[in-house]
């Protein structure tokens, strides 16, 4: 028999000390000499790239990581400089960020909120990352944005399209360059109405999480404004793979348009199913049946193969754009990796440059100075035309691309064609718009 040394007091004392230690993350206790967390001092600066490296979005994550590596190379003066040469702000000189050489660490979000928070936290605490960026899902972006606000580092969101990221869940330390569900709907609605007519009945299948909800609400509002009537909005679980029983319901619903508020694997499967069930060739109410995918990802659309042909949707950026910024980016990326970048890669590259530029203009890594430099910042030359980083909600405002699945693609990358560029004033909204209401930006947190 062994004798236990456990006593009630001993356990309580150890528990209290351990609990206090655990409850107080190191970024609150360490670095008291500095005015902000993870001050690079005179050494190199570390950026944290938090992208899905495993799980169903791993390929999109890999493309984001390629873009980040390219951005770091350009910031440190390597390569051909990419969009540094076309960026309207000339603060970046190819000498790192404000003279500090740029290094990076990567984390794996797994497209799960808890895993993404854990990897971001580890990069902040262990690796000293001063800025976190990346991601391929709004659920993850909102979770990591919240963490960065608490930790006192800047979060430059990757691919996130939910209204909530810069709506009810906006944070002072978080910034989004990517467009959002409201802007997609605002850009698509007039195009859909002019092509398919005003008297239409639409049916929606919606992924059951933050992005899907806001996308469905936005599409409903804008299409009803155009005179369309909603038959049904059906929520589908994120884990769904076979959408055949949903398609059956669409067939017998009397609707003549199907809107798929799905992204990634969901979109590939639901669109494939819809086409297999002959919806594209169907005539309902005397009209040609139409399918719409509000948010396109060229990378993922490849999974749907032939099914994307002729389908309308929107996208943040496309490699076929012919402005100087896009051409420079496609050239650097294509030369280095052998294929054109995705919209996820583009937004991640741009976010890194925007952060570096803000630090350089503010001449400070202090998150509060960076926030001040980014708020209300107007720029051009990064592939989307003149763009504003609005101070009220840290959302970028720029033209939105309406795209269509190409009928005769010339290569495996040539899946979408831009059919309309909706000007920024058509997708602008007030900061207190009902789709974005309820949140509070708060104040910037430097962490220390």
């Amino acid at each position: 028999m062994s004798k236990s040394n456990l006593t009630r007091r001993g356990v309580l004392r150890t528990g209290a000390v351990a609990g206090a230690g655990l409850a107080m993350p190191t970024f609150f206790s360490a670095g008291s000499a500095s005015a902000f967390v993870n001050d690079p001092g005179n050494g190199p600066v570390t950026l944290g790239f938090n992208v899905p490296q495993t799980g169903p979005y791993a390929d999109e994550g890999a493309d984001e990581l390629r873009a980040y590596q390219l951005a770091v190379e350009h910031l440190n003066g390597g390569g051909d400089g990419g969009m540094l040469n076309t960026f309207s702000s000339k603060a970046l000189q190819g000498n790192g960020i404000n003279g500090h050489k740029v290094e990076f660490v990567t984390g794996d979000t797994q497209t799960k909120s808890d895993a993404a928070r854990a990897s971001a936290q580890s990069m902040i605490q262990k690796d000293g990352a001063i800025m976190i960026t990346g991601g391929s899902s709004s659920g993850v972006a909102i979770a990591v944005q919240g963490l960065c606000q608490e930790a006192g580092v800047i979060f430059m969101a990757g691919l996130t399209h939910s209204n909530d990221t810069t709506g009810k869940d906006k944070k002072a330390n978080g910034f989004r360059h990517f467009f959002n569900a409201y802007q997609s709907a605002a850009a698509l609605a007039p195009v859909l109405a002019s092509r398919y007519g005003k008297d239409r009945k639409f049916y929606m299948l919606t992924a059951d999480y933050t992005w899907g909800w806001t996308q469905a609400a936005s599409m409903k509002a804008f299409m009803e404004d155009q005179g369309w009537t909603m038959v049904e909005d059906v929520r589908t679980p994120l884990s769904a793979t076979d959408f055949s029983s949903y398609m059956t319901e669409v067939q017998t619903s009397g609707a003549d348009v199907l809107i798929l508020n799905h992204y990634g694997g969901n979109m590939v499967n639901s669109l494939t199913n819809a086409v297999q069930f002959g919806l594209k060739d169907k005539t309902v109410n005397g009209k040609q049946f139409e399918i719409v995918v509000p948010l396109y990802s060229r990378l993922m659309a490849a999974g749907a193969g032939e099914a994307v042909k002729g389908i309308l949707g929107s996208t943040n950026w496309h490699w076929s754009l012919q402005d100087e910024g896009s051409k420079a980016f496609v050239k650097s990326f294509g030369t280095k990796y052998g294929f054109p970048p995705s919209q996820a890669a583009h937004t991640c590259y741009v976010q890194t440059l925007l952060y570096a530029d803000a630090v350089t203009r503010a001449n400070s890594f202090n998150p509060c100075d960076v926030v001040a430099a980014l708020e209300g910042f107007e720029f051009d030359g990064l592939g989307n035309g003149p763009t504003l980083y609005r101070a009220d909600d840290h959302q970028c405002f720029k033209d939105v691309l309406v795209v269509q699945g190409k009928q005769n693609p010339e290569s495996q990358f040539d899946l979408l064609e831009v059919v309309e560029k909706t000007p920024v004033d058509k997708v602008m909204y007030a900061p207190d718009n009902e789709f974005f209401a309820g949140g509070d930006l708060g104040t910037c947190n430097p962490g220390a």
Binding site: T54, G55, P56, Y57, A58, D59, E232, V234, P237, S239, T241, D242, S244, S245, Y246, T248, E249, Q251, T252, S253, G265, V268, N269, T272, Q276, F277, G278, D281, K282, T283, L299, M300, A302, G303, A304, G305, E306, A307, W319, S320, V330, K331, G334, T335, F339, P340, E410, S411, F413, D414
Partner: protein, 343 residues
Amino acid sequence: MDAILLQTLNGLDKGSAYALIALGLTLIFGTLGVVNFAHGALFMVGAFCAVTVSRLLTLSYTVIDETRTDFLGNPMKVDMPYLKSWLGETVGGTIIDWSVPLAILFTIPVMLVLGYAMERGLIKHFYKRPHADQILVTFGLAIVLQELIKHYFGANPIPTPAPPMLTGSFDFGALVGMDPNQVIYPYWRLVYFLFSAAIIGAVFAFLQFTTFGMVVRAGMADRETVGLLGINIDRRFTIMFGIAAAVAGLAGTMYAPIISPNYHMGMDFLVLSFVVVVVGGMGSLPGAVLAGFLLGVLESFSSMNEIKNILPGIDQIIIYLVAIVILLTRPRGLMGRKGVMEE
């Protein structure tokens, strides 16, 4: 009426995938007594056999087309499949189009060998271990297979279309005398249903009408006695493992045009298939098939909007609800018999 007909067709289609996987699971459980959590992964490997065949048939050499340019402004490199240049555009193109049905010929030997290797190389060492250990090792194996597939094929779904003449849909309603344009159903899903029925029939015929099958059935009923009669039952059970793997693989191969294969598709089917096995009755082959179709149809009907408006979310839980009810009222499942797997 049209909605009910459509959902029945859908249910039979889903059910045929469940039934094929559950049939394989039951074969393994009934013969070797192993709970094989890697069975979903075998289904996924089967789907990737279709992808592999399609890639092999489209192996290409590069031709430089000076008249067109790629995204960087360089002359466009066009892939020319060897098959098309050897056999001509029509014959080569037709063979490439029919890659999924052709993949069946590839899947059967690959899956038989994979199943055999899995059983001899890993699972046989776990026969005398508790079920929990078997579950852990097969689950681990499933993850290894998934990651291997992801390493070679990436994480994105890979479109693997059916032959062009079978990709469209047809007016099923008009065939059975309903108003035209009411019940439109994809050809390939009907092909899948018929294919599954054929495979299920073949497995049952094999077990029922061959000496090999008779010995296996005897071994399932009483392994020890069959062994005492001087029959090497272990070797036959190993072959059954290979056959079960081939059934799962074929189910996956033919499923590729329905859902673009991705590395985690097996997991989506695995849990459901276990429920199917339990509902059907552990160790009962007809039970697995019956429960597969039954749950497929129930799942389809529960996703009708009329039903979801009364019971929201019912389509997500119906299968588990039915499982609970059946286990409470018939603890051995629909067709489970007393004394089977109950030592």
